[in-house]
């Protein structure tokens, strides 16, 4: 290992381009994979942020809504009834409606979220200030995406073109269907919603979805059928699904996952192939030099370790540079482009790339072990 490290170190000093050049190619591939994976991740999160912002085990929809948050209209008695089901720790309600936010003359689209404070429907991560509590008139919290447009705590904004509210807090980014969100008490939501959808009328007694936290030690999958059965006895038809399934049912999410996710998987496959190919090309390039090393006494083990070490250095350089490139691109693109890099995504892609290079290297090991020292003389014996 020491000899291999020495060989790689000397090579890096003698001709850095031999190591850096393949690293540059691999960097481009790493950046490609990281950007693509981050795009899918961001698109997904910006569609489902509202549901990701809360900590609930189960989501209750009315049956007709077919798991669509925008369409769900669970009657208030149903959400009260859920609270009495065995195994349910707490239940809260959450409703959404498209709206507009006007701030200092600028108008932009947003999603208005009505929620019960101090229940599983309350957003978990508050970055600044506080979230509104039930019954408080004309106040709201905004998500970080809306804050980036210039709205701050203490500012006054106009919802739906007519209702002025004061911003009292900022929560972590919780976008819904690619739009930022404004979080208000249920009464404010009901008033704004009635203006947006007049055919539905004023509906304070109707909520969008119920969010359920089950008791410690109880399995959500066991509690869900009990809720359905219990409410069916009251002639209330609801559908109860795990939060994960509710996320997948948000409009466009499955299309993003199937289409974009499929293409990204394909891209990752190509990146894996190219990375493995690059590793093999490296072995080919070093064939003559390896034959010379064999001729002067280096064993196959030393050559194999040297190869793997070189590939590891290449991979480390490429992964780090690829991550920097992806992060720089994410910082440079306009906010409309859904590209936000997360360390977890970058680390996953770096690991996949490492495996690909490893596979290429493993194939290369066979070639290294079969190198004939006589090749150093120019002609195979």
């Amino acid at each position: 290992m020491r000899l291999s490290t020495h060989i790689v170190w000397l090579e890096l000093r003698r001709s850095p381009s031999r190591l850096v050049r393949p690293a540059v190619t691999l960097t481009v591939l790493a950046a490609l994979a990281m950007v693509l994976a981050s795009l899918v991740d961001t698109l997904d999160r910006r569609s489902t942020g509202v549901l990701r912002a809360v900590e609930a085990d189960l989501v209750v929809f009315n049956v007709e809504a077919r798991q669509q948050v925008l369409r769900s209209r669970v009657p208030r008695p149903a959400t009260i009834g859920v609270g009495f089901v065995d195994g349910v720790h707490e239940v809260g309600v959450l409703s959404v409606v498209p709206t507009t936010v006007t701030h200092q003359g600028d108008q932009l689209r947003a999603t208005l979220v009505g929620f019960n404070a101090r229940t599983p429907a309350e957003p978990v991560r508050v970055l600044e200030g506080r979230v509104p509590t039930d019954g408080e008139p004309n106040i709201a919290a905004i998500d970080a995406a809306l804050q980036r447009t210039g709205i701050e705590v203490g500012d006054r904004i106009i919802l739906g073109g007519s209702l002025e509210v004061e911003v009292v807090g900022v929560i972590a980014e919780a976008m819904f269907l690619q739009q930022p969100t404004v979080w208000v008490p249920p009464e404010v939501w009901a008033r704004t919603g009635a203006r947006a959808f007049p055919e539905r009328g004023y509906a304070e007694t109707i909520v969008g979805i119920g969010l359920v936290e089950v008791q410690v030690g109880r399995e959500p999958a066991e509690v869900a059928p009990d809720i359905v059965t219990e409410l069916a006895e009251e002639d209330l038809d609801v559908e109860v699904v795990a939060l994960r399934d509710a996320l997948a049912a948000v409009p466009g999410v499955s299309a993003i996952r199937v289409t974009f996710g499929g293409l990204v998987a394909l891209a990752l496959g190509v990146v894996v192939l190219v990375s493995a190919g690059l590793a093999l090309l490296q072995v080919d390039q070093d064939r003559v030099r390896n034959a010379e090393l064999r001729a002067i006494g280096a064993g196959p083990g030393v050559l194999a370790t040297t190869l793997l070490l070189r590939l590891a250095v290449t991979w480390a350089l490429a992964s780090a540079a690829g991550a920097v490139l992806a992060a720089a691109l994410a910082a440079a693109v306009p906010p409309a482009v859904p590209l936000a890099v997360r360390p977890a995504t970058l680390a996953t892609i770096a690991a996949v790339l490492g495996m690909a290079v490893g596979v290429g290297g493993a194939a290369g090991l066979r070639r290294v072990s079969s190198i004939d020292p006589a090749e150093a003389l120019g002609e195979p014996w």
């Binding site: 950046a31 693509l36 698109l43 498209p98 689209r109 203006r195 055919e199 990204v264 003559v288 482009v337």
Partner: protein, 374 residues
């Protein structure tokens, strides 16, 4: 030229595995860039085609909806106000609502139900069958034929005891990436009324406007907003670009295609440079037996072009295979123009890289072959 061709083809033949590997990598990357572009366009058409390809001159929405169709409700009484605006030839209501349907008794799917009269300026053109003129007739987008939505099929609305019959197909008119059904407006009003039994009135989602031949769309749109301040008018194509999510999706696919294009150019350049450098010794040998640096450079460039061409052919095969094997939800098609553009960009990058690598050839002394290590 004969010597150049012999050398280039000979190099490819001597190392068939390497030729296949490089062409394979280029083919995979080229196909990836093309597919990103094609699928991105198809996805955006599927999300917004009902507006983007609409034939009406203007659509009138509620101004508070901020272009979000699902949030737009226009006062039916304002139809007369818009009709009276100078330059407006015809106005018709448009309705859109999400419903659950079963196509031919199949699985329950979400659908976008549109109420547009066949004579409306916004009516989708029928490419197969006939327009939906009867109350229980419907026109659907041909992109959903894989779900069984073809003329003659039955559509059951799951929330109502109502059945529609498909009589015609349109194309490029999908909305929200879900099956898109068009029925007469009066039937749409009946369905929305039945879905909301407590409501007093059903509001149209928008108005479609046909202008008089000499009318200026911008002027008429401005006049409509003055006549009815709660309304906003714009060409449907412009509204399509403002639909929620379209911007993000368009920029995502655009970014993905651009980054993939940069990657394919960089990889092709890098592989080419690596190969040129690996073969300097062989080049020196050929130089020693009389080949000029120009012949060697041309041979290398010809080989690069052949490799990229092989990659492009492979990409076409891969895209064709993907078209056959991919699920209908991923609409992959082979677009020759996109393939040619990406291939040219790949070739240009590889040729430039080869040119840089070949600089060493000019300085190559044929005697090097006698003293260079094996």
């Amino acid at each position: 030229m004969g010597a150049v061709r012999t050398l280039a083809v000979g190099q490819l033949r001597r190392a068939p595995m390497r030729t296949a590997a490089v062409a394979g990598v280029l083919g995979a990357l080229i196909s990836l860039v093309v597919v990103f572009g094609v699928v991105g366009d198809a996805q955006i058409r599927g999300l917004s085609g009902a507006l983007a390809a609409n034939d009406a001159d203007l659509w009138v929405l509620a101004s508070g909806a901020q272009g979000a169709l699902s949030a737009s409700r226009v006062e039916p009484a304002l139809l007369g106000t818009v009709s009276a605006v100078e330059g407006v030839a015809r106005v018709a209501p448009i309705g859109e609502v999400r419903v659950g349907v079963r196509i031919e008794g199949g699985a329950l799917v979400d659908a976008s139900l549109w109420g547009i009269d066949p004579g409306s300026p916004a009516a989708p053109p029928v490419i197969d069958g006939s327009p939906a003129s009867d109350q229980d007739q419907a026109v659907v987008d041909g992109a959903d034929a894989y779900l069984g939505a073809v003329p003659g099929a039955r559509l059951e609305l799951v929330d109502l005891p109502a059945t529609l019959h498909i009589v015609g197909l349109t194309e490029g008119r999908r909305f929200a990436s879900i099956p898109t059904i068009t029925i007469p407006y009066t039937r749409w009003v009946e369905i929305v009324d039945a879905l909301n039994p407590d409501s007093d009135e059903v509001f149209p989602t928008a108005f479609a406007v046909e202008l008089e031949p000499a009318a200026d769309p911008n002027e008429v749109a401005a006049t409509i907003s003055v006549a009815a301040p709660t309304l906003v008018a714009a060409p449907p194509g412009a509204l399509a670009t403002e639909l929620p999510g379209i911007d993000g999706l368009r920029s995502s696919f655009g970014t993905a295609a651009l980054v993939a294009l940069v990657a394919v150019a960089a990889v092709s350049a890098s592989f080419t440079r690596l190969q040129v450098e690996q073969e300097l010794r062989v080049s020196a040998s050929i130089r020693a037996i009389g080949a000029s640096p120009r012949v060697l450079a041309r041979a290398h460039q010809l080989r690069v072009a052949l490799l990229v061409l092989l990659g492009a052919i492979l990409a076409a095969v891969l895209i064709g295979l993907a078209e056959l094997l991919s699920p209908p939800r991923i609409p992959i098609t082979l677009e020759v123009r996109a393939l040619l553009t990406v291939t040219l960009a790949t070739w240009a990058a590889a040729a430039l890289a080869a040119r840089r690598g070949l600089k060493a050839l000019r300085a190559l002394d044929p005697a090097d072959i006698l003293r260079a290590p094996a």
